[in-house]
């Protein structure tokens, strides 16, 4: 009888080892769930940025021939950018720019005809860079 009482915790003592396994399993599962949610949210943000960049580009290039300066084009596309919650900058390669692009911003390039101040005799082909972040 005395030998049986040594180290005797009780009915709960039988369950403690299995409780450890259950707790490990639950923590593993919820960590995986949390990671999946974070991955999902990051991807959703990334898609919003991509979709925003495409729509901003459409607004900027919709007229075909660009006669306005970059600041005016930027103002034209700002409501679209705000609807996606992104920032963007425009730049002609080796030329005018509305501002610096961030290091991890997306960059989209388009070949556009540019007529400064609407002068149709001075149309040149320009590389327009649209960066979105």
């Amino acid at each position: 009888m005395h030998a049986m009482l040594k180290g005797f915790i009780g009915p709960l003592g039988d369950d403690i080892p299995s409780l450890l396994a259950v707790l490990l399993a639950l923590s593993l599962f919820f960590s995986a769930l949390s990671f999946s949610f974070n991955a999902y949210n990051e991807k959703v943000k990334s898609f919003e940025k991509l979709k925003g960049a495409i729509d901003i580009s459409r607004v900027v290039t919709q007229d075909g021939l660009i006669t306005a300066d970059l600041a005016t084009l930027k103002n034209k596309a700002t409501p679209t950018a705000m609807s996606y919650g992104v920032r963007f900058e425009l730049a002609f390669k080796n030329g005018a720019t509305t501002g610096p692009c961030g290091p991890d911003w997306l960059k989209f390039v388009y070949l556009v005809p540019y007529a400064p101040a609407g002068d149709l005799n001075a149309i040149t082909l320009k590389r327009l860079e649209i960066c979105v972040g």
């Binding site: 039988d14 299995s18 396994a21 599962f29 580009s57 388009y110 556009v112 590389r127």
Partner: protein, 166 residues
Amino acid sequence: MKLKAQSAVMDGIIFVLVCAAASTLMFYTASLYGASTNRQIITIYNYEYEGTALVTLHYAKDSAGNWFWLELKKILSKNTAQGDVEAYFRNKAAGVWDNLVASSPSQDSVLYFSGPSSFYCRGKTSASVACGALPADFSAKTVFSSSVNLIDDSFDSWEVSMQMYY
């Protein structure tokens, strides 16, 4: 009692296995999520770029001050279209070609002319433009293509496609 404890631990271990399998499935699904959407958006950008570039070519002028598209129509109306187009891109329209290729997101941008004959024009620079058949390895690449029709009373219509290979 020993057996009860043993069975409880066994239940716990099985539960760990089930949770590990579910977690693995969740990791796998999380990595797959959005892959096709990403591809679709990249596809849209490529088509948007090509559409914009083809519109831009309507406003382009060659070094002699002639409208690019009108000169191209004149060249395509001749029987020697392929050779003449190649010479045009190497000389008078060199600036147009260089702008087209330099701004393209693809390393291999090609203009495909389809009409009474058909040929591809490609080259990293205007000096290296060559018109003819595409190399065989291009058939294995992903391609995005947009086209425009050149119609004139003096010739059968030609279709000019801009193709970007990845």
